[in-house]
């Protein structure tokens, strides 16, 4: 999958999924509508200022609390291609990958990135570069199959691709 380059936005530790998208919006299904309420009360500057392709940087335990997938849907629709966090809550981490949002665990990078820094992420080589400060951080590159899920778009599309590949191989044989 391709590298990502964008401006960094930072949120703190233990940002729960309620802060990402409040419970009262869970009846919404349109991703863009969800995005318009993303971080609405917790980080309103992000709701209005975030530009597609910017990167989200977070502290410990991002996405704790409710298991709602809406949080990841909202972040994707907001234009977040990649999240760098010190650590992720378990279900949120799984939801991110299954819905095609790249979660990177890299406490060093979180410490070394300030809001507004220009950051370049290369999932294939496992490097996060803070272009503004000239710093490079390394993370364990994602295994190939996870990169395939992200490239496909989400888990559903990944399974669909795998099944149709299997079918066409059968036909060829």
């Amino acid at each position: 999958m391709r590298g990502q380059r964008g401006r960094a936005w930072k949120v703190g530790d233990n940002v729960d999924t309620d802060q990402i998208i409040a419970g009262r919006y869970l009846s919404l299904t349109d991703p863009q509508e969800l995005a318009s309420h993303c971080f609405e009360e917790s980080y309103p500057e992000l709701t209005t200022g975030f530009a597609r392709g910017d990167l989200l940087v977070a502290g410990e335990n991002l996405g704790c609390g409710s298991s709602r997938e809406h949080a990841v849907v909202a972040l994707k629709a907001l234009g977040v291609p990649c999240i760098i966090a010190s650590s992720f809550a378990r279900i949120f981490f799984r939801n991110c990958l299954n819905l095609g949002l790249l979660p990177l665990e890299c406490p060093g990078a979180v410490a070394g990135i300030e809001p507004g820094d220009e950051v370049h992420v290369d999932p294939a080589t496992g490097k996060i570069e803070n272009v503004s400060k000239g710093l490079v951080f390394e993370f364990k590159p994602l295994p190939c199959f996870l990169q395939e899920i992200l490239t496909a778009g989400d888990m559903t599309a990944y399974v669909r691709n795998r099944l149709s590949q299997a079918r066409s191989q059968k036909v060829r044989r």
Binding site: R90, L97, F145, L146, M155, T156, R160, L163
Partner: protein, 423 residues
Amino acid sequence: MGLTITEKILARAAGLEAVEPGDIVQVKVDLVMGTDVTLPLSILELARMGAERVFDPEKVVAVIDHFAPAPNVEAATRSKMVRDFAFEQGLVHYFEPGYGRSGICHALLPEQGLTLPGSVVLGADSHTTTYGALGAFATGMGSTDIAAAMALGETWLRVPDSIRLHYHGALPKWVGGKDLILRTLHEVGVAGAIYKAMEFCGPTIEALPMSDRFTICNMAVEAGAKNGIIAPDAETERYLCDRTTRSYEALHSDDDASYAATYEFACHELQPQVAYPFSPDQARPVQQATDVKIDAVIIGSCTNGRLEDLRIAAQILRDKRVARGVRLIVIPATQKTYVEALKEGLLEVFAQAGGAISTPTCGPCFGGHMGVLAAGETAVSTTNRNFVGRMGHPESEVYLASPAVAAASAVAGRIAHPEEVVT
């Protein structure tokens, strides 16, 4: 560096020599299970994925157990969706009350010999951790993950850190697996093992029958654990030899395996435990709870509805009457348990004591049906969760306990130590 049993199972399933905590691996799954509550969503997702067939009709299991038998039209419709799917896909293992083999999934699958040591089992239900009692890696997932696993026969997992929980000392009379896990949850806390593998070991565990081991691994998830696990031994083998002819590999942790934390428990003075509302980690010795008046007693569930549990309850209830104003509901966890309890005369003991006996169902445990609680009511239950409103009205209260304490409480009309009732 040595590996834990959990790491060994995941390494094998991933086709790797070794794995370490934090690694994300793609693993082959040996069994994927869903219920009437979670399968409908997975079935819709399978259609979106374009999956016409499940990867293996012998390894995909459907169990109708939550809203079973269906208490309303909505539940009946969902169950029908699952039933139609099971027949259309030719699932070999499909279970529903009235269809012969049936029961609560986490009691049923081990009983039917479907969960083996060393295997990877995924379930669309959080108490899937139960099968770890046989030395399997078993964990719960959401409906989309389960659909992907049903389509591909594989999933991705982040290798968890392991926590070692070591127990020594013989358990006193009337103290069993439920008391041990409630005490453990009290120590570890509901968030104490988030994302981790809880590995239960030591002489006390080795002396426990499978029924108690299932109870322990069942509730590992109440500490946030990804899986609970007990290394297979002679007891495991004895349990499996009646139930399966399939081969399996019994794996064990290396002596130099590394753990994120270690706990040591002395069990010789452990008292029967009662977990106060509204969290499973609020355990206290039963003696501190004996002034709590109760309205209902539930004996059953995937935690404590096995034959051994019913035997203990019957031992206390024999020739006794349920206290005035208390209703007792007994739910054998599987049809096989039901039949065996019938043959042994246990069901007669419950009926003579005044209790109601239900066909196997999750029913009241998740506040679904078959004995839910009204506002202001208090229950002693052998189930696994006592969150606000879990078993009915948000203003009802649930105290979690063993079958022994539950049966004694039914007779006393308040929370009671079994010794108060059995002389």
